[in-house]
């Protein structure tokens, strides 16, 4: 089980709402938000995803000083593991991170998230299983359960994420 802090501020809520195309003023206008039922700015339903910014071990964020697997001069910044140095750089089909997709996401909301909340995030593994898929070959599913608690220890959001690693690139039909 991993644990880290997720301090919530108003600007992050505003940027997140913009990024999902949500112009509801409750996400950026404190004056407007006062007159709403929640009585102030709150976070949109999927906002807790932004906690990955604070997760010290989050693998999908470049780490300063370390090679990044996205493109730079070449299509990936990672060196091939093959013994022959240069020609195998691309098409490293062993890169399973490229095959990792998000299959399902569930949220249970216990109370609204507000600017100023100092959330504690704990994650633990849930179930895992395999399935033969039509679109992506053998698919390995695994669940991660994340709890977001406020500074008094009360649950704010419970999130369950189901990831899938596919045997090949997912085709459309």
């Amino acid at each position: 089980m991993a644990e880290f802090k997720f301090p919530v501020d108003a600007s992050q809520i505003m940027l997140f709402a913009r990024s999902v195309g949500d112009n509801n003023p409750i996400y950026h206008d404190a004056e407007h938000a006062k007159g709403t039922e929640p009585g102030g700015i709150v976070a949109p339903p999927t906002f807790v995803q932004a906690s990955s910014q604070y997760d010290p071990k989050f693998a999908l964020r470049p780490v300063i000083g370390k090679p990044w697997f996205g493109s730079g001069k070449e299509a990936t910044g990672l060196k091939p593991k093959a013994k022959k140095a240069d020609d195998g750089a691309k098409k490293d089909s062993g890169d399973s991170s490229a095959r990792m997709l998000h299959a399902e996401q569930q949220y249970v909301y216990h109370k609204p998230i507000r600017p100023g909340d100092d959330l504690t995030v704990t994650t633990k593994r849930g179930n895992s299983w395999e399935k033969e898929g039509r679109r992506g070959g053998t698919m390995a599913f695994s669940e991660v359960i994340t709890e977001y608690r406020d500074s008094s220890g009360e649950l704010v959001v419970t999130a369950t994420s189901v990831g899938v690693t596919t045997g090949k690139a997912v085709t459309q039909d």
Partner: protein
């Protein structure tokens, strides 16, 4: 907006367009706001040459977030108690997305009126990209 149990019935539907000609820029915005910098979604060279896809495609969570716009606009701010989504199809730059909710149940839970919704978000070809469910508190 607040929904009222007295004015809702099973089978009622509501829909909203939540993306039009989805841009690569919005996908980049979502990467930056969410912190999910997976290159599959923003890095055309990586997506094609390393991952073997025809190009970049949106984070599933961007579609779920966009679908949430329809939900909160309909059920009201701070009213959702549960929201889940399965990602059934990739969303590509240029896609239009329409999110739809259908009332499947209205019941009382501990003195609180609650609505259960089935959710589907479709692209411009009417293909589902998200299939989900939501639960929200409503007024009597």
């Amino acid at each position: 907006m607040v929904l009222k149990a007295s004015e809702l019935k099973v089978g009622d539907t509501h829909q909203q367009q939540v993306a039009e000609n989805l841009s690569r820029t919005q996908i980049v915005q979502y990467a930056g706001a969410s912190g999910d910098y997976m290159p599959l979604h923003t890095d055309e060279m990586y997506a094609r040459e390393i991952a073997g896809y025809p190009g970049v495609f949106a984070h599933g969570m961007l579609s779920m977030g966009a679908t949430g716009v329809m939900l909160t606009n309909w059920v009201g701010d701070g009213r959702l108690t549960k929201y889940s989504a399965r990602f059934t199809r990739q969303v590509w730059p240029g896609d239009d997305l329409t999110a739809k909710a259908t009332v499947t149940e209205i019941h009382e839970d501990d003195g609180q009126q609650v609505v259960e919704l089935d959710i589907v978000t479709v692209n411009q070809d009417d293909q589902p990209v998200i299939a989900g469910k939501a639960t929200a508190r409503i007024d009597a």
